[in-house]
Symmetry: C2
């Protein structure tokens, strides 16, 4: 059991680049994140466009950083078979990029219902089928897939995978043995409310399926469903309690900050945001 | 098993008065709801202010309506014991009003964390303690309490009770025998996303704890966390599937429409709203 704070442990902390609002080239962000003393970074696919993943991987390594995760999957469900297949192909390419980057995992946000559909079980079945196929590719690439359940308010259009229990059921179905290539990313924002949270973290830990821990905060009031996430300490989530639960379950990986905040943090100077992340990770996580 | 539609069955349908935006006196609303052929109505406490519940009860009866539920509880958790006790007292008065109205149940929206708190388990413990006390009063008044789990996006400030499973666990703790005075209200908006939904409905039905079914729809996109709920058929919820699951589990009570829609339905003429509800209940639920 670990009950120590993250003070002085920024080397255990990661910055998910979405936190900075995708306003600068990835090369700049890498240097900024490294300069503040963070040990890890989590880039997004859009930031690699027009770049060679191996070149970026070298820059990240040379800056003294590691890649906590690579964000993120193309949504899987579709109303037609051709698009469903294309979605899987696109995810296979992303898994290759993640491997080239040396990422700890590829983050899977699985998608919701196809437009016009009310068939939630059908979307979930497509996700199951798609993941079964992608898992084979992940094994070939030696790159774990981290299923990220999203908050239930995204169940319609972003993720029909809404709880840790549901994600772990899927892991057990698709990869019954102790996990090698299928696990979960636990995001505080998406999971904090779940009465079953600590039980499911323990379950995931016992199966060695804890592949990531993302933090931000839930603001009261929350003014937008997608882009009003809070800086750690500005909201109501017991973030230290969550980290301790993860560590008690055996998680030893990085603590990754991911904040979507259009009207606040994305309007501020990136270095100010990074300084605030560093401070709040050490005081509130 | 019942697979018939609600066509021609408005006598099985209820209007929760929040659907009309609280813009008219309750006396007017009662007449309007009855004139459209609905069999039930669910008033809010604010509408009874300055009125004698027994007088309103008689008007409702005389209009040919019954009271599907009475909305709703004062939030239970508080940061101080005195306010906690006052919250319970206020709920006791409301339970008495519900009994005088002849309501099928009193709807319990339990509340979230006290302001400034990050202690979700603590709020849940206060809810458990408060409900244990209110249950005694409900038994004396012969008036069932319907726990309504709210969508997880309200976990911080409106309801630390977020899922049917959690509500049923609480019911079993507080009233271990087959339910007489403690059950659940299943609201499509709050529960539709839950991978465990049908299993928990069956569980509630087996314990005779299904006390209410509320319908509206989840819009894509949803523009406001509280006041952007949709008319049945305008969103993505499989409402007929939900009703069938309830009926398969033994539910025989009314289907109650409850729509919070500040920018759309609350701006329209109440009779237009009622006509639309009647049509959509018969075509989409």
């Amino acid at each position: 059991m670990s009950r120590q704070s993250l003070a002085g442990q920024l080397s255990r902390c990661s910055i998910n680049t979405a936190t900075l609002g995708h306003r600068q080239p990835l090369e700049t962000i890498i240097e900024q994140v490294a300069s503040l003393g963070f040990g890890w970074i989590a880039p997004w696919r859009r930031e690699l466009e027009g770049r060679a993943p191996l070149t970026i991987a070298r820059q990240i390594r040379d800056a003294g950083l590691r890649v906590s995760s690579y964000c993120r999957s193309t949504y899987i469900p579709s109303s037609d078979a051709r698009t469903f297949a294309a979605n899987l192909d696109d995810n296979r390419r992303a898994i290759e990029q993640a491997a080239q980057l040396g990422a700890e995992s590829f983050v899977m946000v699985v998608g919701g219902m196809p437009e016009g559909s009310r068939d939630l079980p059908g979307a979930r079945e497509q996700v199951r089928e798609g993941l079964a196929s992608l898992l084979e590719h992940a094994q070939q690439m030696d790159l774990p897939l981290a299923l990220e359940p999203l908050h239930p308010m995204y169940a319609a259009d972003r993720s029909c995978l809404s709880t840790l229990a549901q994600a772990l059921d899927l892991c057990e179905q698709l990869e019954p043995s102790d996990s090698r290539y299928l696990g979960v990313a636990v995001d505080a924002y998406h999971c904090w409310w779940d009465p079953d949270l600590h039980l499911q973290i323990a379950r995931a830990g016992a199966q060695r399926r804890l592949l990531g821990l993302h933090v931000c905060d839930w603001l009261v009031p929350t003014r937008d469903l997608l882009l009003d996430r809070g800086m750690m300490g500005d909201g109501v989530i017991d973030l230290a309690g969550l980290r301790h639960a993860m560590e008690d379950a055996g998680y030893r990986g990085p603590v990754e900050v991911e904040i979507f905040s259009f009207n606040n943090w994305w309007q501020r100077d990136p270095l100010e945001v990074l300084h605030t992340c560093a401070e709040r990770l050490q005081s509130h996580c």
